[in-house]
């Protein structure tokens, strides 16, 4: 094997671009975050402008922070570290450029469409189908460039950071494509191919793993590269990083259903989600400790070096979030915390603490190296660190207090069994001070961020951007060991033994004899022993370990990662997708939405009502007292997409149908405080003025028919006429109370949808006629 010296000029330009984009969009995301946090404390800040309402800006905030800020930061870190770890320039500069500009165009498209209300109505996956396709295309471009770089690398080993990047690229592609499957109605409106429970499970399989594989694994890769660099010592335990990686990628994918505890999701899926969430504690903390212990013997550097301060705090917040996440996944804890601000605090502990501080540390590390000039002010960086940390603590503590308060107030019952706090707004008024503290915490974090921008601008001003050039020692590719090709690796002994073990496990579930089962268990032990002996013999003869072979083969490695990820996804999703066959009897009792109700449902999604109102009454006494009968799976079989929500800033709406007259809804939407004193809901006065395209009624039903909703062709042909007919009954009812409304206005459609909710057969409140002032069901205990 010969060696040669090779000179490599890294493409640092692409790193600078992604870094700049991350800081720019991070600022936007944080400003919008502070605005919407303030809107919850002061509803007047919605300004009565559709495009500035909380419910439209909240998706903009989450998309900006996740995909624009963290996404661009992640790409900057990946491009910087990958080139250096593989000792080669990125494979193709053009692909890098397409990736960068394509991603920024997607972000701009999101920034335009989300305030306009163009949304799929699925949290963290709100972007409509043309943008979804663009995301998939650009992600493929990134993947090609990345794997091409792996193929032409000058370093035979793949460092653990590269593994995390591989897992990110592969899994995000799978998640995005599956969750975005939709049928278009128009150029900017589509409906999820999944419905109800299936859609909920797919959505939170995606949603939770967006956190796992977009906000966690790539940042862990960044941690494993930048932390040793900054500490000037190798990672504490490379072996622990192997355990961390494989257990994390295998387990994370199963944890999604913990977002759906006590919902209509089958209980087995809930328990599975909870258990895997608890299991995640172990690898997550293994990774955190591996990061922190890397600083052993170098803690004095943390005092002097701002970069390390950010990294240490970031990793510590990772540890806190990954402790709190499993805790919140325990069903009894979830019963209190779900739908409350506690979850918001948890999410921001991860986003601001883990992602935000790691990003800042990385920027402070990279900027002096990318511009070949020392950091302008370490003191300013230190100040940023403390301001940001205090901001995060204010944010998290206020949300803990607010969340626990909410949960307890919703549950509180008097000695006679009635609710203590009958009006939902009582809880809202109680937590308002915490909303103000939260807005203050967010403002502090933003202030620190602006300080960083100033510091970095001063650092790069007057400096010339440079591309790093290095000389590396390159080994000419050694000849493959005889009998060891990619196929050999994939079909290597460990995999065979694992497969045999899995087969025995399956037999355990199929055979009905204790003796046979014991025999099989012994057989498994024998197989394990044989594997151990063979492995020991081969290692003694000087052959590389199986893992040693795998870790340097990107293809084999990627296949194994994909398998690890797919096992959990398939095991959870498949039975729920097939469950349709198990509920036809109950399902047939459900009536599909009318054309007008579907139109109203579109308005509901467009305005982002699902971001503050759930549609899922949990099987708990206090929820029954406040909202009515618990929601059942079959009630959602025609919900493309599901609208269960994940937060109750306002009350649950699943049993709202028939509770109030049309006039109440009209008045409430026009001025929420006139019907619900103390509410922080924005006014939606434009709904009375805006009209919808009535001609879409038929095509909308046709799309739903293709998705499996049992509309007849006659239903589709008569959709437009029926839509008008139903709208007129509401218009006439409103007119009796002196309110003039256009039959084709958004507000009439939305009222029709709200009046339909929770009124399918089997529900106590079922009424076939739309409620009027005369026939409204009086409110019992469950004040809104």
């Amino acid at each position: 094997m010969s060696q040669r010296i090779e000179r490599i000029e890294y493409d640092d330009g692409i790193v600078r671009k992604f870094m700049f984009a991350s800081i720019l969009f991070g600022t936007v995301g944080l400003i919008v975050g502070v605005l919407i946090a303030s809107q919850l404390a002061w509803h007047q800040l919605n300004f009565g402008i559709p495009y500035l309402t909380f419910s439209r800006l909240r998706p903009l905030h989450t998309n900006a922070v996740i995909f624009a800020f963290v996404g661009n930061m992640m790409f900057a870190g990946v491009y910087y570290s990958t080139q250096r770890l593989l000792k080669t320039r990125m494979a193709n500069d053009l692909l890098s450029s397409i990736h960068f500009w394509g991603w920024q165009l997607i972000i701009v498209a999101a920034a335009v469409t989300l305030p306009l209300g163009l949304t799929t109505g699925k949290e963290y996956a709100e972007l409509e189908w043309p943008i979804d396709i663009a995301i998939a295309v650009i992600w493929v471009v990134f993947a090609i460039n990345f794997f091409w770089t792996l193929a032409k690398r000058n370093e035979k080993h793949l460092y653990v950071a590269i593994w995390f990047y591989i897992a990110t690229i592969v899994t995000v592609a799978v998640l995005h494509i599956v969750n975005s499957l939709a049928l278009p109605l128009s150029p900017m409106k589509s409906y999820s191919v999944f419905a109800g429970v299936q859609d909920a499970l797919v959505q939170w399989w995606y949603g939770h793993n967006a956190v796992a594989f977009f906000l966690t694994t790539p940042i862990l890769g960044i941690m494993y590269y930048f932390l040793p660099k900054a500490a000037e010592r190798p990672v504490y335990s490379y072996r622990l990083s192997i355990v961390h990686f494989w257990s994390l990628v295998f387990m994370y994918i199963w944890a999604g259903p913990h977002h759906l505890l006590y919902t209509a999701l089958p209980d087995w899926a809930q328990s599975l989600g909870m258990i895997f969430s608890l299991m995640l504690w172990a690898p997550s903390w293994g990774g955190m400790l591996n990061g922190l212990l890397t600083l052993r013997g170098a803690w004095n550097k943390v005092r002097e070096e701002p970069v390390l301060k950010f990294f240490v705090a970031g990793v510590t917040f990772y540890g806190m979030s990954t402790f709190e996440g499993p805790l919140l996944s325990i069903k009894s804890v979830s019963a209190l915390a779900h739908y409350t601000d506690w979850i918001v605090g948890h999410a921001h502990g991860g986003a601001l603490g883990w992602n935000g501080l790691m990003a800042a540390g990385m920027f402070y590390w990279m900027a002096p190296r990318l511009w070949n000039k020392p950091l302008h002010s370490k003191k300013a960086a230190d100040a940023h660190f403390w301001i940001a940390t205090i901001g995060i603590i204010l944010y998290m503590v206020s949300m803990w207090i607010s969340g626990v308060n909410q949960g307890l107030m919703w549950q509180a019952q008097n000695a006679d069994g009635t609710l203590t706090y009958t009006s939902f707004t009582e809880t809202l008024l109680a937590i308002r001070p915490m909303y103000i503290v939260r807005a203050l915490g967010g403002t502090l974090y933003l202030t620190g961020f602006v300080l960083m921008i100033w510091n970095l601008l001063k650092t790069v001003s007057g400096a010339q951007a440079t591309n790093t050039t290095v000389e590396v020692t390159v080994e000419d590719k050694p000849a493959e060991e005889p009998g060891v090709g990619p196929l050999t690796v994939i079909a290597g002994r460990p995999l065979w033994f694992s497969t045999i073990g899995l087969v025995f496990t399956l037999v355990f579930f199929l055979v009905d004899s204790a003796a046979l089962a014991i025999g099989l268990s012994v057989a498994v032990l024998v197989v394990g022993e044989v594997a151990y002996v063979i492995n020991k013999k081969e290692r003694a003869s000087g052959k590389p370990s199986w893992f040693g072979l795998v870790e340097r083969r990107p293809f084999a490695f990627t296949v194994l990662v994909l398998l690890s990820v797919l096992v959990g996804g398939i095991a959870e999703l498949l039975p729920t997708i097939l469950v349709k066959q198990a509920v036809p009897e109950a399902g047939h009792a459900q009536k599909p939405y009318t054309a007008l109700e579907l139109q109203g449902r579109d308005v509901y999604q467009r305005e982002g009502c699902y971001l503050c109102h759930s549609q899922m009454v949990r099987p708990m006494l206090h929820e029954y007292l406040r909202y009515g009968e618990a929601s059942r799976a079959e009630e959602f079989i025609y919900d493309h997409p599901f609208q269960w929500g994940s937060k109750r800033t306002g009350p649950d709406l699943h049993r709202i149908g028939g509770r109030y007259p049309n006039l109440w809804h009209y008045t409430h939407l026009m001025d929420p405080r006139s019907t619900s004193p103390g509410s922080n809901m924005p006014t939606y006065q434009w709904l009375a003025e805006w009209t919808y395209d009535t001609k879409l009624a038929g095509p909308r039903l046709a799309v739903m028919q293709k998705l499996g909703v049992p509309y007849t062709n006659a239903d589709i042909d008569a959709a437009e006429a029926n839509q008008k007919k139903q709208a007129n009954t509401i218009v006439v009812d409103l007119a009796k109370n002196g309110v003039k409304a256009n039959w084709n206005s958004d507000i009439v459609a939305l009222i029709a949808y709200l009046q339909r909710l929770g009124r399918d057969q089997g529900v106590a409140l079922t009424e076939d006629v739309p409620p009027t002032a005369a026939n409204a069901v009086p409110q019992v205990g469950g004040g809104r």
Binding site: R7, I8, E9, D12, G13, R16, S81, R84, L85, K87, E155, H157, Y159, V160, A161, Y224, Y225, F226, P228, K229, E232, R233, P234, V235, S237, Y238, R239, L240, I242, V243, S247, S271, M274, I275, L278, M279, A282, G286, N372, Q464, A465, T466, N467, T468, T469, V470, E471, V472, F508, F509, V511, D512, S513, A514, L516, A517, R539, S545, G548, E551
Partner: protein, 64 residues
């Protein structure tokens, strides 16, 4: 077989059993990992971030 195995187990005990099984497996895996007498296998890899090439002095300036 699984029916006999689970026959006397309450549903509430099943997740706890699974959790216990996992923790035991995880502990065994850690033991196995750290019992490897092959630290030398990983030394070249853990040094990678610290040895990403000898910088050349003539850094090429690029147009921003």
């Amino acid at each position: 077989m699984y029916k006999q195995f689970f026959a006397d187990m309450e549903w509430t005990a099943l997740p706890l059993f699974a959790l216990g099984l996992f923790l035991a497996m995880f502990a065994l895996m850690l033991l196995r990992t750290f019992a490897w007498k092959t630290k030398q296998d990983f030394e070249p890899m853990e040094q990678l971030p610290l040895s990403d090439g000898r910088p050349v002095n003539n850094r090429r300036e690029v147009t921003p």
